[in-house]
Symmetry: C2
């Protein structure tokens, strides 16, 4: 019998990659957990013709018992929710434990970092979800992705790649020589497909591993593929730390404002990746992660070089089409 997989956040940036990976592979019975208020959305409607059952669930208002009834019978739940919605998973975990789910994949899907304050916003929220899983002895796999190619590239003087560029210009952090685990986000679903079919990954942390690149290497690849000379500001480690402390303080003074949350979160990511060097293969090993390069040596992930060629050919896509418009002030 095919594995019954329920996806929470199936229409989001990561969730849609996971749906793509699972449908491309085939052999799964797929369903998407959808809020009542999202039922009529085009992205939800688009799931049905692809053979994905839409399952309505109101996590905010239904009881754990009611939600457990909805979850009963699924083998695997994969949660890939927005950065602002991590803690809605707590009730889902309670219900999944009650329903006897065989594997719960919480919303990791981020760069590697330790719990406990380094990433005081989103990573701490994820840790609360993991601790709830362990509280219930619920079988799980935590999957982290490193950095997506799609947000790690630089803009070019010609403006050629700005159609897919997020953010506010290029910045090289420190000496630009810190390595970072990276992946083409379209490979996330393909690797998740391997992981949910693999008993070795049960009750483990996994990091998806395609490339490990420094900012200087990213720059060199882009310059050599484009023939352009890239312009970039520099930011020292002290400047990154200062920016993080300032953004954190503003966020903590007004935690409900998403315009303050995102800069704090983003500054914490930069410190974690480029000052602390958390998002590296050696730190992943140190923190107990298994590595997909070792688990699936036959899997050939897309390389950053190949991604840059697509990008220059105009075939990449800008992420978060509907969201974070406030971030694009400078880009548009």
């Amino acid at each position: 019998m095919s594995q019954k997989v329920l996806i929470h956040g199936a229409t989001g940036e990561t969730g849609s990659d996971i749906v793509n990976g699972l449908t491309e592979h085939g052999g799964f019975s797929l369903a998407a957990l959808v809020r009542p208020q999202s039922l009529q959305k085009p992205a939800t409607e688009a799931l049905k013709p692809r053979g994905i059952e839409v399952v309505v669930c109101d996590l905010a208002n239904q009881s754990v018992e009611e939600i457990a009834d909805i979850l009963a019978g699924y083998d695997t739940i994969i949660s890939a929710v927005a950065a602002t919605a991590q803690l809605v998973q707590l009730k889902l975990v309670d219900a999944a434990a009650k329903a006897g789910i065989k594997r719960f994949i919480p919303c990791g899907f981020t760069s590697v970092s330790p719990p406990g304050g380094v990433m005081s916003i989103i990573r701490n929220e994820k840790e609360k979800v993991y601790q709830r899983i362990w509280f219930h002895h619920l079988p799980y796999t935590i999957i982290d992705t490193g950095t997506w190619f799609q947000i790690a590239f630089f803009s070019l003087p010609s403006g050629k790649v700005d159609y897919a560029f997020m953010g506010e210009g290029n910045t090289i952090f420190g000496d630009g020589n810190v390595p970072s685990l990276m992946i083409d986000k379209r490979d996330i679903g393909r690797l998740v497909t391997r992981i949910v079919n693999d008993d070795r990954t049960l009750n483990k942390r996994i990091v998806l591993h395609a490339d490990v690149l420094t900012q200087n290497e990213i720059r060199e690849i882009m310059e050599s593929k484009s023939g352009e000379k890239l312009e970039a500001k520099r930011a020292t480690h002290d400047e990154l730390m200062e920016k993080m402390y300032t953004a954190r303080a503003a966020h903590r003074a007004n935690p409900a404002d998403p315009r303050l949350r995102f800069p704090a979160l983003s500054a914490e990511y930069n410190v974690s990746k480029f000052v602390r060097q958390d998002n590296t293969p050696s730190n992943a090993r140190y923190l107990g992660y298994l590595d997909t390069r070792e688990l699936y040596p036959d899997f050939e992930p897309n390389t950053f070089s190949a991604f840059v060629e697509e990008l220059l050919a105009g075939r990449a896509q800008r992420l978060y089409q509907d969201k974070f418009d406030f971030l694009r002030k400078k880009a548009t």
Copy 2:
């Protein structure tokens, strides 16, 4: 060159077992980190003729830099501090990272349980120390011991084993059939010796595994070895939970009072072990622990049966000779 090992808490219940294991094995260069106010204590004095260097350090008042200078040159630090002193390790961790210590063994040495509220007092404090280790990327090994034989046995109607008995009479929790990882505390040091000489244990969690016994099995072993019929109260899981909630509330209302801390901590242990079934080989595997039975199949730990024979022969010892006198009201 022999491995230089510095022990924090060398004269405590666990620390002295570790010192015994390391000296019995030999081949280590041993030192004990001692507070200025403990320098003249007989237990500290007794370390010197055994070839253990006494190193004075005032964790409360010295700076991280000063402490790092004291720690510099040691390969391994093992911390085995009192249940009330877990958080003094935070500064020690900061200093160990600064000094480039090759392996830090924090004060785990307890039963298996997940972080995040199950054991809201001591386990949460230990987790803070672990998170500080991960913050620094400090090489580490977390070692948990399960339950000591020395606190898991029952008293007998004859009073024969009361000379070594702590607590307030016998209680069987629930149906008495929950298995628990157990060890003779004298084997802790022998297994720690294996672990600090073993690269496979670096950056891992390890559980020491001798016996796995239920309370009913403990009862049967004691009855069969002594020929006595054991008397025990019963406590249901609901009663254990209720006792925990009450003790927690009292502790939280007055957190500085050790007479309120210990009952809360003890009630949390009982719920974790006997209601939640956290201290089992399968839960240890689930939480990512390696098991000394698998790592060291040639190591023959003392069995609970053999321990009971020693106990009946009058050759066991009461623990915490100088401490927790308030716990012995009923026993003396």
